[in-house]
Assembly symmetry: C2
Homo-oligomer: 341 residues x 2
DNA sequence: ATGAAAGCGCTAACAT
DNA sequence: ATGTTAGCGCTTTCAT
């Protein structure tokens, strides 16, 4: 027999209303009664019935806030589709979603969005904006107001967010190294392209790659690590220079940065098909590069799942009181080749 | 405003009971009334509320049947874990699962299981047993009794199953060819290992591989296609012979078959690390082979997702009347290398 | 501080 | 053939 709120009430010799108050941390219950009820709840191993809760919430649905970049940011497209799947499943379950689209490079917008969502009374927040002190403060403010925050895609470290769902950037790099090792001959020379090594997120892949090369006992040489600062021109100029100076470069790991710039330089040097290219993510430019057979591999970390899982975790937490089991949920690392498309 | 059964009743000038009868195809409604109600249902775009249904079904849950191999068949482990995730989500939603474990090489067991489940009154069935005429008949029998069947992992073609969830075997082969092409030099010789070319499932990967080699304009040569009939000895003997006769084999595509036999032969010929090996699936023997760096790649088709999706589709169908959108749901093709583990 | 009762949308048993 | 009603387990409002 599944144990209901009614059973608890009977055991405790109180009404269902009182039990409900205790279970939902509502005021107006004598501490000793509260304790006794909680004891019984534990003893009987009570678990709330989702369907019943959902039905009761129909009139005044629980609201979950989502803060992320707007539709124009194509990188988030698949994450959005994962969120959609989850929200489809939750459609009838007494949940409403409240979106706030912000520039994910503008911490102040993200921080403000969190506070606003807390003000309007959301029960939980999904959040993806570049890490920053302002944001940390907002997240902690939400936490203190009992509004749990799940970060996704990019984490806000040392904040009071309940968990993070995203990529294992270091592992991307390790896997990229494994691929290079298999497609290039011994002693071959490779170049790493990244954005800005000051950012942890950019550094992690590069470090993973280097470590991967080492630990696999490979003999590949990293000729240079280029910081392109996510700009076409910088990337183009530096890579161009490098390829000019080193005609024997046979692999490029595009850890972070402008794919188009990279491919243009390869064309300029007439190295199509001669230089092996490993990328990350499946942006339109990467997909095109694969179709054109200029990119050999791209490493992807299940963005749909990031979206789906974050929302699901948040729902389970606020609706069933189910605490996330981990602090970091890393989505699986997958490898694509042109034939995978 | 979401439209409820009550609204429909009001519009039609009947009671909620009658509407319920119509919506659930229960007898005892005058045809003209039924038609009128259905019209209104369409017009108002009525969608049943899952939470309410689930709650009402608490006492007498809807039962879904699952026919698949028992725990000993390790291949299904991940599929099972996907089923578990889905059933976790559906726990409170008025659904009960009824398992029948059968040898998936024994169609008569599978066919009997379907009939039995239909007899005991399940509302839908998930099914995975090798294709066979007996099974086709059972599935059609179930369909005729209004019990939808979703096949997963291996399809039962030309049957009245509502849809199939599983791998795109042909694509596995194409992707394998893409990998071989990237890691082997031009003109290299490869061997294909399969089970029994009489089986469509075994043939599909082999054909995909060959076609992949061709269409990518590669120059690799398929030296031989070995049928190992899923037996260690046959595989061992034939591969051994082939490697003895052709010292220049530099790639093996393990489309289907006994991985251990394959690896043993490679060791025997001291070709560890010299012959590139591409496998399918992530069986324990494959995983071990990767850790030992004897297998370079394995191609996997999201078995968890197969389990999850099949159950979810079945639930949506019987619970919300949502017809599957496709007849074939192919799970995504993923590539793993040792560093992915 | 606590109890009682109505209601969320749907099903099913019982009436008519 | 159709209407009425009592739940399903939880929330919430209104009494006490």
């Amino acid at each position: 027999m599944t144990v209901t709120i009614r059973e608890i009430a009977k055991h405790a010799g109180v009404s269902r209303g009182t039990v409900d108050r205790v279970l939902n941390d509502r005021p107006g219950v004598k501490p000793e009664v509260r304790d006794r009820i909680l004891e019984i709840v534990n003893e009987l191993n009570y678990v709330p019935n989702i369907a019943a809760k959902a039905l009761a919430y129909q009139k005044k649905p629980v609201t979950l806030g989502i803060v992320m970049p707007p539709k124009e940011i194509v990188f988030f497209e698949l994450i959005r589709s994962g969120i959609s799947s989850a929200s489809e499943e939750l459609k009838d379950l007494g949940v409403r979603l409240e979106y706030r689209y912000v520039d994910n490079k503008r911490p102040e917008e993200g921080a403000a969005a969190i506070r606003e969502l807390v003000e309007i009374g959301v029960s939980g927040i999904m959040f993806s904006v570049m890490d920053d002190e302002l944001i940390r403060e907002s997240i902690n403010y939400a936490a203190q107001k009992n509004v749990p925050v799940v970060t996704f895609n990019s984490d806000v470290e040392d904040s009071k967010r309940v968990c993070f769902v995203g990529q294992d950037l270091h592992k991307s790099g390790v896997v990229a190294a494994g691929l290079m090792n298999r497609v290039l001959p011994a002693e071959a020379k490779v170049v790493i392209l990244t954005g800005n090594l000051k950012f942890h997120a950019h550094r992690a892949r590069v470090e993973g790659f280097k470590q991967g090369l080492k630990s696999s006992g490979g003999s590949l040489q990293v000729e240079r690590v280029i910081e392109g600062f996510d700009r076409y021109e910088d990337t183009y100029a530096q890579l161009n220079q490098t390829l000019s100076e080193h005609a024997d470069i046979s692999g490029i790991y595009m850890a972070t940065g402008d794919t188009d710039a990279c491919l243009e330089v390869i064309k300029l040097h007439r190295k199509e098909g001669k230089i092996r290219v490993v990328c990350n993510d499946m942006l339109p430019s990467v997909e095109q590069g694969m179709r054109d057979r200029m990119i050999d591999f791209t490493i992807v970390q299940n963005p749909e799942r990031q979206g789906y899982l974050s929302l699901r975790l948040l729902f389970d937490l606020v609706f069933a009181g189910k605490q996330p089991e981990m602090e970091h949920y890393f989505t699986e690392t997958h490898i694509y080749i042109p034939e995978s498309l």
